[in-house]
């Protein structure tokens, strides 16, 4: 299932920030992880991912840097900044509140618990 553009505009950056919370990742890795961990719901074309990464970088939420990969060639990695970490926490709170509200309206099956698990 593909998500509407407007919904993706809000969810996409949050998903990327969340993936980077665990550590630095490079572009293709992020594409793969998004597709795999969201069952394809949040899969996005590279033509969308890279502009999104540059936007997050310009806002100071992620930091891009070149580093030599195991293969010997240079690869650009991204990692979360302190500002990005704060934004992730804040946006997560908002999305949880939204999910709870949607659940109470019967739009979603169950609201996530405050800890992030299933209710």
């Amino acid at each position: 299932m593909r998500i509407e553009r407007e919904l993706m505009r809000g969810a996409g950056p949050l998903a990327v920030l969340k993936l980077l919370e665990r550590g630095e990742m490079y572009g293709y890795q992020l594409v793969e992880a998004l597709a795999r961990r969201s069952d394809g719901v949040l899969a996005m074309g590279q033509s969308t991912l890279y502009p999104m990464l540059y936007n997050l970088e310009s806002k100071g939420l992620v930091e891009g840097f070149w580093r030599e990969a195991d293969s010997g060639r240079e690869r650009k990695y991204y990692r979360l900044t302190d500002k990005g970490r704060k934004r992730l926490a804040e946006d997560s709170r908002q999305w949880r509140a939204l999910a709870t509200a949607l659940s109470q309206l019967g739009i979603t099956d169950a609201a996530p618990s405050p800890a992030g698990g299933a209710a």
Binding site: Y26, G27, V31, S47, Y54, N55
Partner: protein, 620 residues
Amino acid sequence: MSDAASRMRSAPARARTSGAREVVARSGLPERLGEIVLGVASRCRLWRREREDVAKELCGHFLDGLASGAPADRLAADFGDPAAAAKLITAARKRLRPAWWQVWRMGLRAVGWTTAACLVLYAIMAARYFLASPTIGRNYTRELREAAFANTPESELAWPLYIRAVREFGPLPEFMRSEHPDPRRPDDINFELMTAFLDSHASALATVREAAGRPMIGYPWSDVADPDYSRALEISNPAYRYDPSAQAPTENPLMIGVLLPHLGEMRKLGRWLATDAHLAASRKDSQRFIADIEALAGMADQALREPFIISQMVGVALGQLLCVTVLEEAADPGLLDARGLRTLAHRIAAIGGGRISIESTGEVLMIEDVIQRFYSDDGSGGGRLVGSPMREEMWDSWGAARPRGEFILEALRPVQSAVLMPSRSKIRAEIDRFKAEFARDDQLQPWRAHERTSDGPYSWLMYDVIGSIPPIFSSLQGGDANTGPMTTGLAHRDRFESTRGATLAVLALQSYFVAEGRYPPALESLSPEYLPKVPVDPFDGRPLRYVPASATGGPVLYSIGADATDDGGVLPPTEEGRRRMSDLKLFARARKSGEDGRLAASMLESVDGDWILWPADGNR
């Protein structure tokens, strides 16, 4: 992208993407994926280094995909639209640029938007300016002509006779082109030559006197000189050639451009009459003296009947000249008998209907005429400055030098119209204000001249509004309320009225002397038999000062002068002081500058003394 399409790319595009090409070539990507990378990089409107970075990262992306086992076709399909990617990447990468660039871009955008807004505004203003046009509904010059003398029979118009007089005087003698062209009194240089000239042109002088006896001048106001007059000028000045084909008169001429050459001619003929009066006095020819003075009075009345302030000022000047001439000669015991004195007194008292009232009709219509030619008319009194075909005509007909960059100035006219120029209704209101204030100023007594206010609205109308409508009106620029065109005119009128009062008093004194063999002890003794009322001093409103017997023997009649202090009938010590002691404008300025109605003494140092009206030494 196909090979063919690739080959068709322009040389500049190749140059722009040469760095990205190298990156793709070095990466070893399959051709299809390499073309996607190049397709994105070439479309990105970024700096070369940024494009190389984008190419490098996308190459890395595809290489990572291939390394993970994904086929090139799937990677290409998953990438999405290169054009959309390039657009998004360009926008996103630009946000990563340094702060100075962001500021510069914001400034550039601000300039761009401001320029665009200005252009839109200008387009609106230009449309309002160029698409509207004025409506010339009235022919003010014709209206004035009809009101002034259209119904007067030609036998009562003076102008044809003045032209005849110019012809009869013939070529002007050489001394009139010398340093002393205008001797008026026996002790002036060239007076002998002047008397010979006047004596030999008795018939021309008679024509002038006859002309002066008619009620109206009847000069045909137009934007070209009267042809008959121009032909007469060929006689008085053999070097002058009249070219009748030079310019045809306009049916509805711009009133501010109407020529009034008759005024200069009348001033000249008036001076000759005054000189002739002195000549007559020196010969004890009272009949000729009285005839000359009456002719001067007639000319003054004619000029005063014209609706233009400049004409009325000529009338005032002729009246002043007449009075000074009488004051200079009236004490001559052998010149005027009781009847002659009475005749002159009555004629002088009648100039301008007894008291000259300056009329602003002509000036107001001049302003209204300009407005109707350059302003639109919405039918309810409103309107604005608009493009007028008149402007182009005026460059040619007025012979004005076009300024440098005239095109730019003209292009700015819509802005001037929208931003700087007042509306027609505002001008109308100010014209009404001017008329009301000028009528009030005209009635104010001279010692209250500092309360006059009409210079304010007049200067605004003439200099700020009319003076801002080039081409010809630029010559009006530089004037303002401080130059006081209206108060100056009224001060000349007040000075004449004071001089007239003194002249009537002197004629009464002489009549008293003829009857009683002595001068009266006080001016009040003249009333009512010789003088209806004692004239007042223009500087304080009290009766003119009179000393029956002075140190020189004869009586003295004087005003306290511009310093408003009675010095007992003493002339100021300096030439400038003697010249300015009757300066009512200086007096009004000093009163305005002083506190609580007191005079600013520092402005009046040069006029420490009195204005001696009779004997007439102080009047020349």
